[in-house]
Each structure stands twice: as C-alpha cells, then as structure tokens.
C-alpha cells in the first residue's frame, strides 16, 4: 500500500521531489524577473513596436513576420551575423585550447604560481572601458605593434581594416576572457583523481599523452561549460567591438548583432525590429549550443 502511494508520487513528481523545493527560489526569480520582459520581447517582435509613455494612445500594428524578414534581408544585419561567426570560429577553439593548457600548467606546483595565476586573471577583472585604451595604443596605426612590425604592418592598419578588424576584436576578447575560463578548468582539474595520472605514468605515457588521455576526458563537463559560455558570450558581444572599433568599424566590418539591436531598438526607437534580431540571435545560439552539447556531453 505504501509502495503504491510512493510509486504514484514518484510518477507525478519524480524520484526526489525535494528537488522541486531546492529549485523553487530560482524558478520564482526567473518568473518574477525574466518572464515578463521575455514575453514582451517575443510579443514586440511581431509588431511594429516602439516604447511609449504609460497612457499614451499609440498605434502599434501587428506585422506578422515582417520584422524577421527585415532581419534576414538587411545587409548590415547579415554582415553582423557573419562577423559573429568569424568571431566564434576564432575565439571558441582558441579559448578552449589555451585555457586548458594554461590551467594544466598552472595546476602544477611551479614557482611563483600565485603570481602567474593572478596575471592571467587580471584582464578579466578590469573594465573593458579602461583596457581598450591600452589595446588601442598597441594597435593604432602608429602603435607599438606596427612599430615593431615595420614594413610587415598591414595597411590599412588593424582596426580600420575591414578584413582584420573582427579578428583583432576576437583576439582581444579571447585575451580578456581567458582568465575566467582558466579558472573554470582549474576548478575542474582539482577533481581529476591523481591516481589516473600516476597510473598513466606507470604505463609509460609522456606528459603530452597523459594530457590527452587523462586530462581532456576528465574535464569534459567543464569543457562543455566553457564552450557553451564562450559561445553565448561571443554571440552577445556588444561592448568590445563598440569600444575597439567605434561602433561598427570600417564599413560595418565589426558590428555585432547586439550592437545593431541597440542601435535600432534603443537609439532609433524600432523596438519591434530589435526584438526580432534578439530572437533570431537566441534561436541561433540555442541551436549551436544544442549541437555542442550533443557532441560533447554523451553521458
């Protein structure tokens, strides 16, 4: 009799219904804070929407998929999606690779370990607004990098070159965010049992080999996390291209979708179009994330 009741409860609420209690604060938070704005955003994307004063009588006709059609036909917007694709292709693999390698190196008992760990972390915590100035100083047409490169310096210079602007932004963001991802891997590495390394060493594996056979599989959940977070951050890039290339860069070569969303939505008052851009971005990132998760997390 007890078992049937428990069985029924389990069928209704899952094996450990206490989980519901655990997640309730978070769920309430999501509902109270994000549900309404998200709902509005979806609603806006199907209308010729603009924000209006409370009580103002304004005409906001339903326009169906017009906003979405605009997103896929506007050359500036299409260019911005391409820019983000370029960014992700450079940033994500570089981030994963560098972060894991550096985290492994920083995990060992090396001299000055604290100093090294802090130095990789510092760019992450400094506000972009201040750091960008230094980066500009480096990559200006008469900056340090070009002075060092001499004749090899590209012309037009890095940030005013349509082909190079986005890659430079990608390198900047990789550099800036790396500290955080190193941290994620450092934390994950603590839970890779030492015995595995010892047994690999006993089997005669070199350091490189044990890296591939022990470390990489051992931190797989963290890798999923890193890839996902890097993809999401990259897709939602706004401040960095804006600061480094003064808005959209030469000919919109480094405009990001979120930047255009801000421009059309908040500056020009076309909230409906901005919402459609946002929705397309969200769906795109979700698609990429699902693919990533499938490829990486097979548990």
């Amino acid at each position: 009799m007890t078992r049937t009741r428990r069985g029924r409860r389990a069928a209704l609420l899952g094996r450990q219904p206490i989980g519901i209690a655990f997640v309730t604060p978070y769920a309430v938070f999501l509902a109270a804070v994000f549900a309404y704005p998200l709902g509005i955003a979806v609603y806006m994307s199907f209308h010729d929407w603009f924000f209006a004063a409370p009580g103002a009588v304004v005409d906001r006709p339903f326009v169906g998929l017009d906003n979405y059609a605009a997103v896929f036909t506007d050359p500036a917007l299409l260019r911005s999606f391409l820019n983000i694709a370029v960014f992700l292709v450079i940033n994500v693999p570089l981030t994963v690779g560098l972060a894991l390698v550096l985290a492994s190196a920083l995990n060992a008992a090396i001299p000055f370990r604290t100093f090294f760990r802090v130095s990789f972390y510092v760019p992450y915590v400094t506000a972009s607004v201040a750091v960008v100035g230094v980066w500009l100083f480096l990559f200006n047409s008469d900056g340090l990098v070009n002075t060092v490169l001499g004749d090899l310096a590209p012309d037009p210079s890095w940030l005013v070159n349509s082909a190079l602007a986005m890659p430079v932004v990608a390198i900047y963001v990789t550099w800036k965010q790396l500290g955080f991802f190193i941290l994620l891997y450092l934390a994950a590495l603590q839970n890779v049992p030492k015995e595995l390394y010892e047994s690999a060493a006993v089997d005669g594996a070199s350091r490189v080999r044990s890296f591939w056979t022990v470390t990489v599989p051992g931190v797989r959940p963290a890798t999923t996390l890193v890839v996902l977070l890097a993809t999401i951050t990259g897709a939602n890039l706004f401040t960095e291209p804006y600061l480094l290339t003064n808005g959209g860069g030469p000919n919109g070569a480094s405009a990001s979708p979120v930047f255009l969303m801000y421009q059309r939505g908040i500056e020009q008052g076309e909230a409906g179009l901005a919402a459609a851009i946002g929705m397309v971005l969200v769906i795109g990132v979700l698609a990429i994330s699902l693919v990533n998760r499938y490829l990486l997390e097979r548990d």
């Binding site: 899952g14 094996r15 219904p17 550096l102 090294f116 990789f120 969200v282 990132v285």
Partner: protein, 278 residues
C-alpha cells in the same frame, strides 16, 4: 611529497604569457601615475620625473570614492549572497536530483543566459520601476542580477563531476538530500564555489547600464557608473584626463584582484579517491 617541478621551457612559455596578459594592466598603472600623458612607446617605462598620485586625488575629489565603493559592495554582495545560496540549491538539484520539471528548468536556465541583456533592458526597467516600484533602491539594482544563471550552470557541471558512488553510499545510509548536499557534496566543490563567486562578482561590480538607469541619486551610484559619468564629461577638465580615467579603472579593478589572490590558494586538489573508499 612532490618536489617543486621546474621545467625551463614551460616556465618560459608561462612567463611570456604572463607578460602579455599583464602588460596592459601594467601600462594602465603607469598611465594612472603619470603627471603629463605620454602616449609614446617610451612612456611605457615609468619616468620618475613624471610620477604623481595626483590622478587618484583628482578622481577622489570628483567622485566620492568611499560611497561609490560602498554601493558597489552592496550591489555585488547582494548578488553574491543570492547566487551562492539559491544557485547552489538549484545547481545541485539540476545535477543530482530527479524531479518533475528538471529538464524544463535546465533549458530555461540556458535560455536566460543566451538572451542578450540589451533585449530585455527597457521592459525590465518598466517592470522593476513601475510594477515593483523599486527605482533608486539597492534592491532594484540587485534584482535582475540576483541569481546568476551562469553560476547555476557552473554548480551543475561540478556537481555532475562528482562520482555517483559517493551519493549512492550516502543514500543507502538514509541521509536526507539536504544533509547530503551540505555535508558531502558541498565540501567537494569548493573550487567550483570559489569560481562561481569570482564569476558572479565581476558582473555587478563592473556593470554600468543597469545601475545607471535605476539610480539617479548620485549617492546611490556604484563606482562603475560614477566612473563612466566622470569619463563622459568631467575627465576632460582634469590636467591629465586619460591618467585620471586610468586611476579610476585601477581603483575599480583592485578589490577584485585582491579577492582573487586571496582565494586562488584554495584551488587545491581534494583527495577524492580516499573519500570514496573510506
């Protein structure tokens, strides 16, 4: 015990890397101490004749560093508290407990992270200011950031990394889920906790747009906002505007770096193997 390993190649690579990472911050520091702005490559080396703490004095005079830092602290502290308490619960449940709605919540958590904040800003502002009436309050600043979904995700991933046997053993012993979480799982994910704290810290600490919209009273504004305001207007009047800006940025970055230096020592491997066997 392991002797200190010293591999010259590895050290060299790390040193070069560290140099590349530190150089801009070092340059910021030098720039903030300069009396006259020197934007030539030679200016990268501190010139004793050109050093001054005047930029820091400038910033402190125009912005009330004490109050703004306090506001930043309250904002960030509030977010940290909510995230650590409620986020850990949610992350643990998502990782290890089976309940109805788990998949839905997980996907919602992902969804919330994917959405760019700029998309939600204005409706969120209307919600918090009009519906909840929280303009010019610390709670209004904290609310949209209260539980960092990325942190929840981090918690989930690290709880996932813990071996099943650990939990099965505890369940066999009849422990309640809360006890398992508190006594067994949590101590093992200290690195994850610290990571999440450091991750969650940066967002509100450096956040400009949201507090700017929510607060108009100058004495409620956090440092990031005050600094941005300063930059947009007053900076140009200072004798070394760029230097003053860098001074502000250094002040903004300093507490986080200190926090990290203190906490990163805790990234020490736990003896996972023994706790399973024992």
């Amino acid at each position: 015990m392991a002797t200190r390993k010293f591999h010259p190649l590895r050290m060299l690579a790390l040193a070069v890397g560290a140099l590349m990472f530190l150089f801009p911050f070092y340059y910021m520091l030098v720039g903030s101490l300069q009396d006259e702005p020197d934007s030539t490559p030679a200016g990268a080396l501190p010139d004793p004749g050109n050093l001054t703490l005047g930029n820091y004095a400038d910033i402190d005079e125009r912005l009330d560093l004490g109050t703004t830092l306090l506001n930043s602290g309250i904002f960030t502290g509030g977010v940290l508290l909510c995230t650590v308490v409620f986020g850990v619960l949610a992350g643990y449940a998502l990782a290890r407990l089976h309940f109805r709605g788990r998949a839905l919540l997980f996907n919602l958590m992902l969804l919330v992270q994917v959405i760019p904040f700029q998309l939600l800003t204005i409706p969120l502002y209307v919600l918090i200011v009009r519906t909840y009436g929280l303009a010019d309050t610390h709670l209004g600043m904290i609310l949209p950031f209260a539980i960092n979904s990325a942190a929840v995700f981090v918690f989930r991933q690290y709880f996932l990394q813990l071996p099943k046997e650990l939990f099965e053993a505890a369940q066999v012993d009849g422990a309640s889920e809360l006890a398992i979480l508190w006594r067994i799982a949590l101590p093992l994910v200290k690195p994850a906790l610290l990571t999440a704290v450091l991750l969650t810290f940066i967002g509100p600490w450096n956040e400009f747009l949201w507090p700017f919209l929510i607060t108009k009273e100058a004495d409620m504004q956090p440092l990031a906002v005050a600094l941005a305001n300063y930059m947009s207007n007053v900076a140009a009047r200072a004798s070394n505007p760029y230097g003053a800006l860098l001074a502000g940025a250094c002040v903004l970055a300093a507490p986080v770096i200190v926090l990290f230096v203190v906490f990163q020592r805790r990234f020490v491997a736990t003896n996972l193997g023994s706790s399973v066997k024992g």
